[in-house]
Symmetry: C2
Subunit: 327 residues, 2 copies
Amino acid sequence: MTHEIAVIPGDGIGQEVTPAAVDVLEAIETVDFDFVEADAGDAVKAETGEALPQETRDIAADADATLFGAAGETAADVILPLREVVGSFANVRPARSYPGLDAVQPDTDIVFIRENTEGVYAGIESEITDGVRTLTRVITEDASEKIAEFGFDYAKQNDYDDVTIAHKANVMRETDGLFLDAASAVGDSRGADYDTALMDALAMHLVMTPEEYDVIICPNLAGDVLSDLAAGLVGGLGLLPSANVGEENALFEPVHGSAPDIAGEGIANPSAMVLSAAMLLDHLGYDEEGDRVRAAVESVLESGPKTPDLGGEAGTEDVTAAIVDEL
Amino acid sequence: MTHEIAVIPGDGIGQEVTPAAVDVLEAIETVDFDFVEADAGDAVKAETGEALPQETRDIAADADATLFGAAGETAADVILPLREVVGSFANVRPARSYPGLDAVQPDTDIVFIRENTEGVYAGIESEITDGVRTLTRVITEDASEKIAEFGFDYAKQNDYDDVTIAHKANVMRETDGLFLDAASAVGDSRGADYDTALMDALAMHLVMTPEEYDVIICPNLAGDVLSDLAAGLVGGLGLLPSANVGEENALFEPVHGSAPDIAGEGIANPSAMVLSAAMLLDHLGYDEEGDRVRAAVESVLESGPKTPDLGGEAGTEDVTAAIVDEL
Ligand SMILES: CC(C)[C@H](C(=O)O)[C@@H](O)C(=O)O
Ligand SMILES: CC(C)[C@H](C(=O)O)[C@@H](O)C(=O)O
């Protein structure tokens, strides 16, 4: 069986790290892929006027899964609609530190399960009068329940003990109150052990004692900010993969952006992108292959060539070759 | 001239750390205070049905400044209206690490200037239909301009070089777009040097390289979360004071809450509360006295008795006595 994978490198270092992920997937002999490349981002917008052409949407919609690199100024115009195209409701963001790296908190292993359809991202904004604008934040019971079910399932399947529900229900009483109640009800109905935490206090605790957290279920923007915070704990965005998971389709992307400051130099860290490809393997049912890729990345991070963001001098291609060698 | 100070200890450790701040202020012989105590929080709600009695509002409104400790479950019902009572538009939250403490990032010295009247805190929530709720986030040009002016002034007066404007205008295009434009226009009109940063990326950078930031101007919720994050960098909420500043009145409170887990044990760290009293001194024009209090707290943190949150075994009263001795 051949899996059709849409490949959207995008802008900046997306162009450099996406081929690394494709190389790694091609090196897995037990799985057959058919890669279909498509455009998105600043460059295609400059050319065609559209950051996310209809053709790219169609390719992603028809594929078994999508690999996305990064986009520049147009990032939101690309990634938010792409998440919709694949019907993603859960954004899975593992943040872990690796032996051999100089992390702010070397004992971090947390997976953020971020609600991926609503909150402030529902994005209904208005100009009420000159100088007065509003944004309507939307929280529904259905989406809150769904992300919580996904989160509790994820914790169970991956043998994580601690589930935390993040919220700011002391201020957003009705909306985050609904999120908190719906997510708690899911935990209760399963007899699961879980904690709830105000997102501000949680930000502090994550910095000081990340080892106390496993799986954190978050509203959309809370998940965005807290997962980037955790990237800081483990050594930066160059290490964080993510999966945007829908009922039948999914999109995999590094948490980092297009990094215009280093784009074109061939020194971008491919780890986040390759780890995203490992999540794609899991998603298609190839857990063993996913584990093999993670083990290879980990081994290279521990004792292989390193890109400058990790204090090394290696290039993207050296690191990628080392990962492929380890497979 | 005698300054009338409303003193609202509130709940939990608020009852323990607020007297510490009063002791320190009383030890400053160059300034005369008249302290008027008032109730707020869970305990008074249990008794009277109201977390913030009208009498307390009146006392805070009439005083020259207010010292507030903490509240428990009712925190939002107390602090949000109190901020309104004093007409606070700017929440000033300095986060710095001190020599001698075991901080996650020992080279942190950042002041968050948090907009204190709008954003999601405007708090207009609705149930649209069963299971669907909305919150209307409000951003105005006036409030955005005002907080930016305050932030740029603060940076200049306190000799801070770097000003950063935090936002999430790639998603909240109209509302944070307005905040970003209005705040940037203030910077531009002064010919000031400043950066802008997406709040998610900023969360990562704050964890990894806090030494690169000085003053951060934030929308309300961003300021709430990022300042707590910074508390984690410097050793916890026991160290962070804050000022809620209005045109003519102001309220000073530690960033920490009522800490029910340690309340009543006499081991709460009074530093955040005493440093809040130092900000009160600055506010009334006694900068030299404010500096004296900060120097005393710093000296005790460096080599004096420490409460358990900082790895010591001292109680609140020991630490307070040591601070008073140092004055
Ligand atoms: C580019 C932006 C719209 C996006 C988000 O906020 O979701 C990014 O920050 C992310 O986390 O993937
Ligand atoms: C208690 C709560 C309403 C408050 C806030 O969100 O402002 C607190 O977290 C703070 O930061 O002072």
